[in-house]
Symmetry: C2
DNA sequence: ATTAGTTCTAGTCATTTTGACTATAACTAG
DNA sequence: CTAGTTATAGTCAAAATGACTAGAACTAAT
């Protein structure tokens, strides 16, 4: 925080100062519910260690450095605070309301990430970093509840048409696992047979010769996703 | 531009300075093509009157004031530069690449607007403000070509599922006019009868008792759109 | 006044997609 | 060897879609 501007401390000057820019990230992962065991949406939050909103939970985030792109800033901050390096990372929205932060005006450019269970398991969990169920959040710092709500809404929307679900899964997966992702995010049951028919209709899903052994039932075939990730302006047309 | 920070002019300090924040807007309107007369997508650009990119065309935009929300800043700037006050205004994306602007780092939060023909006709056109066909742009200042491309991509996407088309039209419209909007944006012909069947299936479109007179043919019935505008986090759930 | 030209509008019909459901396959646990 | 479980294929009716036909309702030209 040691910019040349940190010295201009009085209120009058702060009112004229350009709004400060922050980057935050909503990170979604699927984890088994504690009650039912079915996969549900979780996200990691960090405890604030200073004012404002000291001791409350908040989205991981931090300032934008002068030598990194927005996406790089999100990546770096994610790694530093949670230890995660998600392969799916996309811009969500820029929040710039006047009173998001009590003292000073902050514009937050928020990214969202989807992480696979294997990645999520590696995430640091500590006194100040903890995972929460996305649909059962307490009151968070700043406007972060609204941000998470919006991220959830966007996630559900994107599920409908798009190949986003696979970023919750590893390289190989069964069609039932894909269905579980949809069921967790959309929060409703889907007919296994019809769902399988639809998924098999999309060309981005490739059969492998492998089967997943170990269940108490007929072993399901493993599939692989061959499509491209999200297509925001930062990812599009980058060869 | 006269903030307390404008005085810190040397390069070393600028590198440490937080990136400056700007708001820009991509404004789309439908206008009859000069050749075919069919409606096509146009947008207004402003000529830059200072460096960098002096004399080149650019998206209307400007700095974010400390006392206005992002959306308000977009609205105000639009009004000041083009005289337009679009009823449809939504955030597009935050562009924050390192070298978007040669001297200083600029993060632009870009909005997009759709304006109705009646509004568009009122737009100031002058030496320094001119409308261009969206698919035939020359080289623009900064990364504005990429921004327009992305806006076009998003627009076409939103057309597929959503009620965005009506924001190009006035309060009353014929189904053929709606079809013309789709044809202009998607750039392909649609079957009039099938298109009408689909549109009539959506509950947000309401028949009026009126007819549009004056054509050299059977007068078409006028309809009205009763749905809500876009649903970004700034517009959603605002009662 | 009649006719030709135009678009509006309703409808037909074959094809495709969807949703609900049935039945068999292939494994494990006992 | 049997019961339990999920995987997977398939059936069937309903709904949506795409290509097309035809009459309705206006204007402009004869």
């Amino acid at each position: 925080m040691n910019t040349v501007y940190a010295t201009s401390a009085n209120v009058a000057e702060r009112r004229l100062a350009p709004p400060s820019l922050a980057i935050s990230t909503v990170i979604f992962a699927l984890r088994p519910s504690e009650s039912s065991g079915r996969p549900t949406l979780w996200l990691p939050l960090v405890r604030r260690i200073r004012e404002p909103f000291k001791d409350m939970w908040a989205l991981p985030g931090g300032p934008l450095r002068h030598d990194e792109s927005l996406q790089d800033a999100a990546s770096r901050n994610l790694r530093e605070t949670t230890g995660l390096a998600p392969q799916y990372l996309e811009q969500l929205y820029a929040f710039g309301g006047l009173h998001r932060s009590p003292a000073q005006r902050v514009v937050s450019i928020v990214y969202w990430a989807l992480v696979q269970p294997t990645e999520a398991a590696l995430a640091d969990e500590s006194e100040n970093v903890r995972w929460f169920r996305a649909d059962r959040l307490a009151e968070l710092a700043f406007d972060h509840n609204a941000i998470v709500d919006y991220a959830l809404w966007r996630l559900r929307n994107k599920m409908a048409y798009g190949s986003i679900a696979y970023h919750f899964l590893g390289e190989f997966f069964t069609l039932a696992q894909v269905r579980e992702v949809y069921e967790a995010v959309l929060d409703r049951q889907l007919d296994p047979a019809n769902f399988r028919r639809q998924i098999k209709g999309t060309p981005e899903i490739e059969e492998t010769g492998e089967y997943l052994q170990g269940g108490k039932h007929r072993p399901p075939r493993l599939y692989r996703f061959t499509g491209t990730p999200g297509l925001g302006p930062d990812n599009r047309s980058t060869p």
